[in-house]
């Protein structure tokens, strides 16, 4: 076989130089490969984060870029933490978080448990159940407002069909009492499949021989469920709760399309409230401080939760 020019050159030169001609060093390749991603993340994730921290100490308003910006220390943080409206928002968020997670865990686990019975065609039905979570929350949320219309909406019609209530006698979106539940229902419809998939992965990770051993020891099915199935799926379930928790704490698109935070502000979750402060009232400095507080809260809660999760895993 004839030698290439490069190979001939490589033979004639000392090893260190040959290496350069033959190709880049591993270290150089590592940096070339990682570099662009790091650059993009620095420019679009890290730099904006630092900018937000900086803005949070000012009274800057993005709709008046020419006004002089003053540094006002921690006053934004002080205002947020003493603002009673923010606590109302937090309550709405807590209600939303608690009920969506509770319902999704119960329904999602039940579905996973049933699917794991491996009936014929379970694969196809799993896929169908998963469909809602793959779709655009804004587009779907918008259409749900049509289903929720009093009188003409399909949701009200079905409810009235089963309960005998007049379909125009209740408004899921328009009434203060029902709107918080309207968003819980749609979010549960959309995201239960996610919890289901994670639980299914958990159930499938349990080896058969554990059940066989329990069967030989004459443990009842009920006992097997509580001493094998539940503890072994628990880490998975806790993980699903973590993800749903973080996602729903950030919740914006679905709810903004459904209720827009209304009526009044009963469904004004933190993200919607933040959007109002930042892009409607244009209190940029204040909203930045708000964003930092939210970030620290989620990050703190998630870290504590992950510690608890690791303890469960170790058992």
């Amino acid at each position: 076989m004839s030698e290439t020019t490069i190979e001939r050159a490589a033979k004639a030169t000392p090893p260190s130089v040959a290496r350069k001609i033959r190709g880049l060093s591993d270290r150089a390749i590592a940096w070339i490969f990682v570099g662009p991603s790091i650059f993009l993340l620095l420019a679009i994730n890290i730099f904006p984060l630092i900018w937000t921290i900086n803005l949070s100490f000012t009274n800057f308003r993005a709709n008046r870029p020419n006004r002089e910006v003053e540094y006002i220390g921690l006053r934004n943080y002080e205002r947020i933490l003493t603002d009673s409206d923010i606590w109302l928002t937090m309550q709405a968020t807590a209600h939303f978080l608690f009920w969506t997670i509770a319902l999704q865990v119960v329904i999602g686990f039940t579905l996973a448990y049933l699917i794991n019975k491996k009936f014929k065609g379970n694969d196809l039905w799993t896929t169908i159940i998963v469909l809602p979570m793959m779709l655009s929350p804004a587009v779907v949320g918008n259409f749900w407002t049509f289903l929720y219309q009093p009188q003409i909406g399909l949701f009200n019609y079905i409810v009235s069909f089963f309960t005998g209530l007049e379909p125009s006698s209740f408004e899921m979106i328009g009434s203060v009492a029902l709107a918080p539940w309207a968003i819980v229902i749609v979010d549960t419809w959309m995201w239960t499949p996610f919890v289901m998939l994670i639980c299914l992965a958990g159930l499938r990770s349990i080896p058969d021989y554990i059940y066989e051993a329990a069967e030989i020891d004459r443990a009842s099915k009920w006992r097997q469920f509580w001493t094998i199935t539940v503890p072994m799926v628990l880490p998975f379930l806790m993980l699903a709760v973590l993800f749903r928790g973080i996602e729903n704490f950030k919740m914006f698109d679905l709810v903004v399309q459904l209720t827009g935070g209304g009526p009044g502000s009963v469904t004004e979750l933190t993200s919607i409230n933040l959007k109002r402060e930042a892009f409607e009232k244009w209190r940029t400095g204040y909203a930045s401080a708000y964003a930092i507080i939210l970030f620290v809260t989620v990050f703190g809660l998630a870290s504590i939760y992950v510690k608890a999760l690791n303890k469960v895993k170790e058992r």
């Binding site: 190709g23 591993d26 490969f33 990682v34 662009p36 991603s37 790091i38 993009l40 993340l41 420019a43 679009i44 994730n45 890290i46 904006p48 984060l49 993005a62 049933l114 699917i115 019975k117 491996k118 009936f119 896929t127 169908i128 159940i129 998963v130 469909l131 809602p132 779709l135 655009s136 929350p137 804004a138 587009v139 779907v140 918008n142 259409f143 009188q151 003409i152 909406g153 399909l154 019609y157 419809w189 998939l197 994670i198 058969d208 059940y211 069967e215 950030k250 914006f252 698109d253 933190t270 993200s271 933040l274 959007k275 930042a278 708000y290 964003a291 930092i292 939210l294 970030f295 989620v298």
Partner: protein, 311 residues
């Protein structure tokens, strides 16, 4: 057939199957309703009780793609309808004056979706390979920190990006949205892809290196083909995220680069939202994702749990 202690009984399977199918049917009702409503006339769409049987019409689709104005009788008589879609519009004494913005917005979704997916998978694969095979200083901390930025509500991230894009002239541009979605997707892409590449034995590359391949050749001739499935499923995740994203789109785009999700809810007809047109738009927008999901279910479902469980 051998007897198994753990195999569920026939009755259990039947019972489980019935409940799951029941849930699946109920969960499909809203989606089926979107599809059906797209073929209704505005009057049928808002009639009581809700209609399941009706005369299908393409009105919703015609309204979705066109702009119409009302005309006088004389004008209508002087200009007879030319095509079938003209006739549909004529029932309301209207004529089509031009295409609506839906086509453009849909195209924006396609450009931004595929553009950012390509970029995040391309950069993500390179970075994942480096993280997987070389010692990158602080790799774990870096990955964790990058992932944790996803815990921020999009609105919080949007404030400085809004200001930055305004300075750089990137607001409401395709490039701006592609870069933004890439930045959001890349952390997940690297995380997923690193998992796939970790599973490819190093021995293959080492053998190739001894055979005289350069590192780079070993990467694209040995590693890339082996990671193809992983790369494809990562691409699907990135694409679905970019396709469905709403918060950044609604805050950072308003015209030229606006994608379909902020646009569809604003399709107005006579006296409020034009529900058949909204449903038609939603159908066209959601259907590709649904078909994708059913066709690629094996990779997709594994990817969801894999991505979550690894973290």
């Amino acid at each position: 057939m051998s007897y198994s202690l753990t195999e569920p009984s026939k009755r259990q399977k039947w019972f489980a199957g019935t409940l799951v199918i029941l849930y699946a049917v109920v969960t499909m009702i809203p989606l089926a309703w979107i599809f059906i409503t797209g073929f209704k006339s505005p009057a049928d769409a808002i009639s009581y009780p809700p209609q399941v049987i009706f005369e299908p019409t393409l009105e919703g689709y015609v309204n979705l793609f066109t702009q119409r104005t009302r005309q006088t009788q004389e004008f209508l008589e002087a200009n007879p309808p030319e095509e079938w879609y003209d006739e549909i519009v004529r029932q309301y004494d209207m004529v089509i004056v031009g295409p609506s913005k839906f086509g453009e917005r849909f195209l924006n979704s396609v450009i931004i979706g595929f553009g950012s997916t390509f970029l995040s998978v391309f950069l993500g694969t390179l970075a994942a390979y480096a993280f997987s095979r070389f010692k990158v200083p602080l790799a774990d901390d870096l990955l964790f920190f990058i992932l944790s930025t996803r815990m921020m509500p999009p609105i919080a991230v949007a404030i400085p990006i809004f200001l930055m894009y305004r300075e750089l002239g990137l607001s409401d541009t395709h490039l701006g949205m592609i870069l933004l979605y890439t930045a959001v997707n890349i952390s997940l892409a690297v995380w997923l892809l690193k998992g796939f590449i970790d599973e490819i034995p190093r021995e293959y590359e080492e053998a190739a290196l001894i055979d005289g391949y350069t590192r780079f050749q070993a990467f694209y001739k040995i590693v890339l083909p082996q990671a193809a499935t992983g790369i494809a499923s990562t691409a699907i995740f990135c694409l679905i995220f970019a396709w469905n994203e709403y918060a950044f789109a609604v805050l950072l785009t308003s015209g030229t680069a606006q994608t379909a999700p902020p646009f569809i809810p604003t399709i107005i007809g006579i006296g409020g939202l034009d529900w058949p047109a909204v449903a038609a738009g939603a159908t066209l927008f959601l259907l590709p994702v649904m078909i994708f999901t059913v066709m690629l279910r094996k990779h997709l479902l594994r990817g969801i749990t894999f991505g979550a469980v690894r973290k």
